[in-house]
Amino acid sequence: MSLLTINDLTVEFPTRRQLFTAVDHVDLSVEPGEIHGLVGESGAGKSTIGAAIMGLLDRPGRIASGTIKLSGDQISGLDAVAMRGLRGKKISMIFQDPLTSLNPLFTVREQLTETIQAHLGGTDAEANQRARDLIDRVGIPDPDTRLDQYPHQFSGGMRQRVVIALALCTEPDVIIADEPTTALDVSVQAQILDLIKELALERQVGVILITHDMGVIADTTDKVTVMYAGKVVETGPTSQVMGKPTHEYTKSLIAAVPRPTLKLHRFPQISYGGRETRFAIDDMARHWPKVDNDTSKPVFEIRNLTKKFLQRKGLLPWDRTYFTAVDDVSFDIRAGEVFGVVGESGSGKSTIARMIAGLYPVDGGTITFEGQVVSDLTNRAALDAYRKNIQMIFQDPYSSLNPRMRVDDIVAEPIRHHKLMEGSDIKRRVNELLDQVGLGHEAGLKYPHEFSGGQRQRISIARALATQPRFLICDEPTSALDVSIQAQILNILKDLQEHLGLTLLFISHDLPVVRQMCDRVAVMKQGKVVELQETNELFANPQTEYASELLRLMPKLDDLSTDGLEAEI
């Protein structure tokens, strides 16, 4: 008998317009000591399954049919009191964001002992001993001091360890981990996943690991269930599903995952579930001013670039403390190449992008664009001339478009500002751009919220191309997108470089994506460039310890099927 069995589960959310079926007749079972991955893109219903098991469905969601059984006893439909007895004791949950899952006003000890005593009773001394053991077990050094600290005194990874300790408090049989490492850096992510693997085996806990990340699935789970639009499309042992997917959706999903070991020419077209929107690069290239990229000459020369941020304000200069985000960085970007900057959060990569874009003033060093120093431009006309050539694609498709502006106004704004055209020409140009990025010009009459994440990123691209720039800064352009949409956007960016001769600065924390996109890569750590290499060279022969550590922690994805992928020669 399985530890946790889900039979024919359907979860519905009645809304005023329609009945939304988030989970559609799903079957699932988890054995003791097994890590069962639940994978799918956003909206697939995977988190809803977790909430349904915990009895924590948000209003007005309800279980419409099916049963959930724990060790043979039905737990779906239990009343609130009985459910509370199970929660934490038999089933625990780990949430995505460790920053907000802990109560900021209580010490770690208070939160642990309170949970222990709520379920196991016992004296304060026993609870304290148990809390100490747990903190020790999840790998937090110096448990006696750390126990009496508050959550804000822990780093993100350490907090997630505290959250895991809390989930383990009462020896649960099942743990539901909902995107437990999505908010963490790659290096920390690997440690947390290892910890979860160890604990599952050691304590014979069944773990449901909910994630959108195929790398996490491939490296961590024993079994995997792939979901699409509320339905299970495929389930089985991880190696089998990843290596020999049978369902079309699984195939397309796996094909869209960037590989660290294999550089593709283009990502395969995803055909499942919807029409691939055409990106009319040829059409665009025809109207694009001819550029002659002299690859030997640098477009950008960055010399000794430094940026400090005020960390603590003070009236007097010696009262202020600064944090050096970018520390004496120098590199060149050659014409026509894709130059990558990779690093963990806080390494200063986005700050460099924003300095080049002129959004942050520089505190030291120079930026030279085609022989002209641009880092100290104050003249309005010269600045505008520079800006016409530089555009940027942002990370978050939901916040990079003004929600109160119509799409045609968004795309027209750069044209109007730089007075590139007038009157009906603007309208014509905007329609052309929207057609070319595959949205159709009727999209211009709508507002951003009427589009999906991938479509919004296309609007961003249309806006960035409106001034016909020479240089495009992409700041994590796909990290908020689902993997299939990511593949489409990356293909578009490759087209722009290849057919329009654009030079790209590509910022990312995702090494496989960098491998797919970039010609040369700078690896950053704590504001400094620690290594600068040809991409292939970096992945084959990292010169520094930090780079090789990053590469070692990267999910290998060797087991993933390579059907339909054509490598670039």
């Binding site: 005023r16 893109e41 956003s42 909206g43 697939a44 699409y228 639009a229 579930g273 919807g274 029409r275 691939e276 929107t277 924003r354 874009a357 002129g358 959004l359 600045l383 505008d384 800006r387 530089i390 555009q391 940027m392 942002f394 990370q395 978050d396 916040s399 990079s400 478009l401 003004n402 929600p403 109160r404 502006m405 704004e413 750069p414 500002h417 730089h418 949205l439 159709g440 009727e442 999209a443 009459l445 709508k446 999906s452 994440g453 991938g454 479509q455 961003s460 806006r463 001034t467 997108l481 689902d482 299939s484 949409i485 489409q488």
Partner: protein
Amino acid sequence: MTDTIETPTAPTKSRFTKFWDSDFAWSFRHSPVALIASLVVLILLLAAVFAPVIAPYNPFDPASLNLMNGFTPPGTPNAFTQETFFLGTDDQGRDVFSTILYGMRISLFVGVSAVMLALIIGVILGLVAAYFGGWVETLIMRIADVQLTFPAILVAMLIFGIAKGVTPPEYRNEMAIYVLIIAIALSDWVQFARVVRGAALVEKNKEYVQAARLIGRGPIPIMFRHILPNVLSPVLVIATISLALAIIAEATLSFLGVGAPPTQPSLGTLIRIGQGFLFSGEWWILFFPACTLLALALSVNLLGDWLRDALNPKLR
């Protein structure tokens, strides 16, 4: 939820259909409280605007007054003149219904103007503080903090007191209404500034503002074209609630005798006058203005309350 499929674009609907179909309009149509409250506000507003047309008497025209009509109870004929007044008359023989209509005119005029003024001052200062930061922000927000320490009504009283000191006595009555508007507005702008600054700080760091800066747009277009439309919904909520507060503040000041002068009585002034007759049994002189004031403030408050919930979907 829509990320998995790139759906073909649906045909565009007209603006009105879109609005009618929006969650906002839907929740308005399905909230009896919001419907009734806005109906009451609308009726009172129209009654105030068209007071000269609706009111059976002009209470400020000495020629139309008859002292013999004084203290006529509502709905009963006067003992001397046999005239009947719907809501009775006061000591001067003025028709209470007419004085209420004219009083509401003053109350609403002061309330709406004060809120508009406060809104303009607050929104501009809040935007400027959020966008420029640095010492400009420190200065504006420190002033706001200090002023917030002092209750609005007290600030309004002080401003009124000072203004009374500096205006020559012969103009005091004429100026009173405008002084009142300025006093209430200056005591209320802080709310707007704080809310706008808070919301604008969030918006300012969003990527669409950076995109606009990258295009090369200057501070003023960014503040007013990009940020302002995105911080308007909390401003709308605050404005509605402020309107109720301003009406109450005006009534309170007038009741205390530091607001609208007896020559231009607002609802507060009428209540002040009526209070004197409560103990002698002429309850209607106080009762009807008080009810009108309550109806006005309550329905505006209900509307504000509903608006806050409707514009903040996570509360539901």
